[in-house]
């Protein structure tokens, strides 16, 4: 398999005595309590120092998987029990199709006891995924939704990884930012940004679509949502990328130091933004429809800045949630239309198909491959017994290609019937909060692309991100052909 684990000799007795979770349990409330007096970027710094010290005392906690890419064998060459779909090179080497198909057909609820991220169950069929996603009473989203773990000492408190009732309160406090009346205002702004970006693209030469369009548009959209200084918008992308790139979380290439430093910078910048808005509110100014204004206008969240872990957790959730997902769907849509050129012809002949195509892009791409849960009790699922405390991974990327639910699941069909019935947004109480914003952004982008360009041709192979969680692209070169204006 394509991984090698470098780890110091574990000292299990010490680990048992000084269990990591118990340390964090004690630490996090202390940090939140002290945040009223200590600026929280200093607390993050403190956590970082503490975490480094902890790793020195307890080296097995510093045990981090390191991933070195090797060729992944074909799915049929591997014994069923040895299949490990947590391999962060599955997407890059395009092996995920055959591995997940084999699991769906032969062992739809599959146990892998020895992954670099510890033992985990894979749920691979559409219907089983819906079952797990719906049953938050059986499967907890705490403490994290990636296969691995968030860096020690920086758990962040975010509602995507919370169970009710706390989840409900936190989500309701921020969901207004993507409420219909806000989306209407945002659509005008987003269209202006889209036009500005597309009008600046050269035709007839090769450009990186990821950098020029996908990342740029996502950065501008995030800056709009947060009312973040426009000239610093790329910082949002950088922080988000670093926050999800640590190897022990999902097999990325980053380091824990990078995660901490990104959190530190983000915390500082957002604290400044918060205090500016709070001062304007105090002066009686009317607040805008950006996220921080919204948090300041709600009595449950108006003092969130005093709860540092919650503050940084919720802000990072919304940045990360709006970053990788939209960016990779913007790129994925272009790639899909290149792999299925007859669909591009169909689209150009009938632009009314755009909204339906947007759903199909989101299914076909599945920009986040899974969400993870922990069983709260023993659960029977498709013939297997998942034990209380076991890790359960709902592979949306597999369910979205389940032949039992979706006809010709590997085909990209822009006028597919029931295209909306996909798993990419998740189901149940954790369903994607930004789904309508995401759809709107993609719709506007395609509306504006079609009036400008006749061809968007992918040149060579795209470069894929190393991760088992983010199914995305680092680079994709394209050549644009202008639309004949005489037509």
């Amino acid at each position: 398999m394509a991984r090698r684990i470098k780890s110091p000799t574990p000292i299990y007795s010490v680990k048992d005595m000084l269990n990591e979770q118990s340390i964090n349990k004690i630490l996090v409330p202390v940090v939140n309590k002290s945040s009223a007096v200590v600026p929280f970027h200093l607390q993050i710094k403190g956590m970082h120092i503490f975490q480094k010290a902890k790793n020195k005392i307890l080296p097995m906690l510093a045990e981090k998987p390191q991933f070195v890419e090797t060729d992944i064998p074909e799915a049929h060459q591997v014994a069923l029990e040895d299949i490990d779909v947590s391999n962060p090179f599955m997407f890059r080497q395009n092996k995920w199709h055959s591995y997940f198909k084999r699991l769906r057909d032969e062992c739809p609820v599959h146990f892998q006891p020895n992954s670099p991220f510890g033992p985990f169950w894979s749920v691979t069929r559409f219907e089983d995924i819906v079952f797990v996603d719906k049953h938050h009473d059986l499967f907890s989203a705490e403490p994290a939704i990636v296969i691995g773990r968030t860096p020690d000492g920086l758990p962040g408190e975010t509602f995507i990884a919370m169970d009710p009732p706390k989840h409900d309160v936190q989500r309701q406090a921020v969901q207004g930012v993507v409420a219909p009346k806000n989306l209407k205002e945002m659509e005008t702004l987003i269209r202006q940004h889209v036009c500005d970006i597309l009008d600046g693209l050269p035709t007839g030469q090769t450009i990186d679509w990821v950098e020029r369009v996908s990342m740029e548009l996502t950065a501008r959209m995030l800056a709009t949502i947060f009312d973040f200084p426009f000239e610093d918008r790329h910082k949002l992308i950088e922080w988000s990328d670093k926050a999800t790139n640590s190897p022990e979380m999902a097999g990325g290439t980053g380091t824990v130091d990078e995660v901490f430093n990104a959190a530190l910078e983000a915390a500082k910048a957002f604290a400044v933004l918060w205090h500016e808005k709070a001062a304007r509110k105090k002066a009686g100014e009317e607040l805008g429809f950006d996220l921080i204004s919204l948090l300041l206008s709600n009595k449950d969240t108006e003092d969130m800045i005093k709860r540092s872990m919650e503050f940084i957790g919720n802000l990072s959730l919304l940045i990360v949630g709006g970053n990788d997902t939209t960016r990779n769907s913007i790129t994925g849509g272009v790639l899909a239309l290149n792999e299925f050129p007859e669909e591009f012809t169909k689209l150009k002949a009938n632009p009314k198909l755009i909204p339906n195509m947007v759903s199909e892009i989101i299914r076909w791409q599945t920009p986040l491959a899974y969400m993870r849960r922990i069983a709260k009790q023993d659960v029977e699922l498709n013939g297997q017994t998942i034990k209380k405390g076991d890790k359960v991974v709902m592979w949306y990327v597999s369910g979205n290609r389940d032949e039992r639910k979706i006809e010709q699941p590997d085909a990209f069909i822009i006028d597919r019937k029931n295209a909306r019935n996909h798993l990419s947004f998740g189901f149940g109480i954790h369903r994607c909060m930004g789904n309508r914003l995401a759809e709107m952004q993609l719709r506007v982008l395609w509306e504006e692309l079609l009036v400008r360009f006749d061809g968007i041709d992918v040149v060579g192979e795209p470069e894929y991100v190393q991760s088992n969680f983010v199914k995305g692209y680092a680079k994709m070169m394209v050549t644009l052909t202008a639309k004949d204006s005489s037509q």
Binding site: V130, D133, K134, P180, G428
Partner: protein, 106 residues
């Protein structure tokens, strides 16, 4: 024949026949009533078949389960008589019922 009326956000009315045993969502989909997405296909897991039932008829639609309530709480467009139409099973007693559609499904 017993029927129900869906009123779109812009006031357009769609009157459809009641088919007993089917859900309110299903008859809306079968009759091409716009404004209901039903992304999860009737699992009470997405909240995109939200309707607002006329006050006079809310009792007839039956009790709201905890599961449905949780999904309804996630939409900013929720009103007192909001229901997920996939969780309302039709009966002939609902003859004449009027339900409104929200501006957006979330």
């Amino acid at each position: 024949m017993a029927n129900i009326t869906f009123v779109e956000h812009d006031g357009t009315e769609h009157t459809v026949d009641i088919e007993e045993g089917k859900s309110l969502m299903q008859v809306a989909m079968d009759n091409g009533v716009p404004g209901i997405d039903a992304d999860c296909g009737g699992e009470c897991a997405c909240g995109t078949c939200h309707v607002i039932v006329d006050d006079r008829w809310i009792k007839a639609t039956g009790a709201v389960s905890e599961e449905e309530q949780q999904m309804l709480d996630m939409t900013p467009e929720k009103e007192v008589t909001s229901r997920l139409s996939c969780s309302v099973n039709l009966s002939s007693e609902m003859d004449g019922m009027v339900v409104r559609l929200p501006e957006f499904q979330m």
